[in-house]
């Protein structure tokens, strides 16, 4: 499964939204994710991929696609080490 699909599953497990509503251009606000949901999504992603997503980086995410790209970069960087 791709990282994007895995992240969708994480979001669905926390926000309980239909997976088909998640797309790269969509925002957490559009799926009614509140601040605590977003924290849990970030923590879940950090734990799943053993990465760190600093709050200041997370605040720059404009949409779900930004989040996916960021996690993919982190995983790729980790693979290089």
């Amino acid at each position: 499964m791709s990282i994007e699909e895995e992240l969708k599953d994480i979001v669905v497990s926390i926000v309980h939204v239909d997976k088909s509503l998640l797309h790269r251009e969509g925002t957490f606000k559009e799926i009614n994710a509140d601040s605590l949901d977003i924290v849990q999504i970030l923590l879940n992603a950090e734990e799943t991929y053993d990465i760190e997503i600093p709050d200041e980086d997370a605040e720059q995410f404009q949409n779900f696609g930004d989040f996916v790209d960021y996690v993919e970069r982190c995983v790729a960087e980790k693979g290089k080490v």
Binding site: D34, L36, D37, L43, E47, E52
Partner: protein
């Protein structure tokens, strides 16, 4: 320097930074090996472990979200497999949602209670089994918010009150196993957590508060109290919450109180 905890093994939850890190280093300085638990910041946890090792004792890093029962089980499975025993549990990891009480929804409530209060229950249940036949010490970090009230602190304050109540019940029921259970309640301690909590408040809003002692409480002040409770000199202290606040709570109208996340 005497090492009253020489040969002991301590688990300090949330010990990558702040109060937990100070406790890990203090216990190490008294001879205890330390398991450094963290959730988000591996780098700081690894640094704490390195600093513990530099003191001359063993350290091990375990990642686990103590708000998740499955992760608590996984952490204790590792401890059980790698060591097979535990002498000291420091229930320090904490989180919380700072909202006015009317805005505390079920998710915020559960999040805060699970990390701050339920984690003590689940960790103590597993720790007590690893302390079987050898006794042990369990110390939790609480807050003046368990009995004083501040705006937006309701969820955390209630979770700390639950933690202190659970401390008394654990102290009673684990006493026959030779396990001492206590808590340390801190006032405002200048850590990253406090900086986060008060980031929208003016500098004068309490975090640089005066105390009767004339300075803010430091993580090392809390660590000293915790280390005392982990020693044999404290064996007749059971189920208590020791307040370490520089005297703030004895005169709240003078010193204004303060929070420890």
């Amino acid at each position: 320097m005497t090492q009253p905890l020489k040969g002991k093994l301590a688990l300090v939850t949330g010990s990558g930074r702040g109060i937990g890190r100070a406790i890990a280093l203090k216990l190490a300085s008294q001879g205890s090996d330390v398991i450094v638990n963290f959730f988000r910041h591996r780098d700081t946890a690894e640094q704490t472990a390195k600093d513990v090792q530099d003191i001359g004792v063993k350290a091990k890093v375990i990642r686990a979200n103590v708000g998740d029962p499955a992760k608590i089980d996984e952490m204790f499975d590792v401890i059980s497999n790698d060591f097979g025993y535990l002498d000291i549990l420091i229930n320090n990891a904490a989180s919380g949602v700072g909202r006015p009480v009317m805005d505390v929804d079920i998710k915020a409530w559960d999040w805060t209670m699970n990390i701050n209060a339920r984690a003590l229950l689940l960790c103590a249940q597993r720790a007590a089994k690893l302390m079987e036949g050898r006794g042990g010490k369990i110390v939790s970090i609480s807050s003046l918010g368990s009995f004083l009230a501040w705006p937006t602190y309701a969820a955390v304050g209630v979770s700390k009150a639950a933690l202190e109540a659970l401390t008394r019940y654990l102290a009673l029921e684990l006493a026959p196993k030779g396990i001492c259970v206590n808590a340390v309640a801190a006032s405002a301690v200048l850590t990253d957590a406090l900086k986060f909590y008060i980031k929208d408040q003016p500098e004068s809003a309490g975090h640089q508060q005066a105390t009767a002692a004339g300075r803010m409480v430091t993580p090392e002040d809390i660590a000293s109290a915790v280390a005392f409770l982990c020693g044999e000199d404290a064996v007749m202290i059971r189920g208590q919450t020791i307040i370490v606040d520089g005297g703030t709570s004895m005169a709240p109208f003078i010193f204004g109180g303060g929070v420890n996340i």
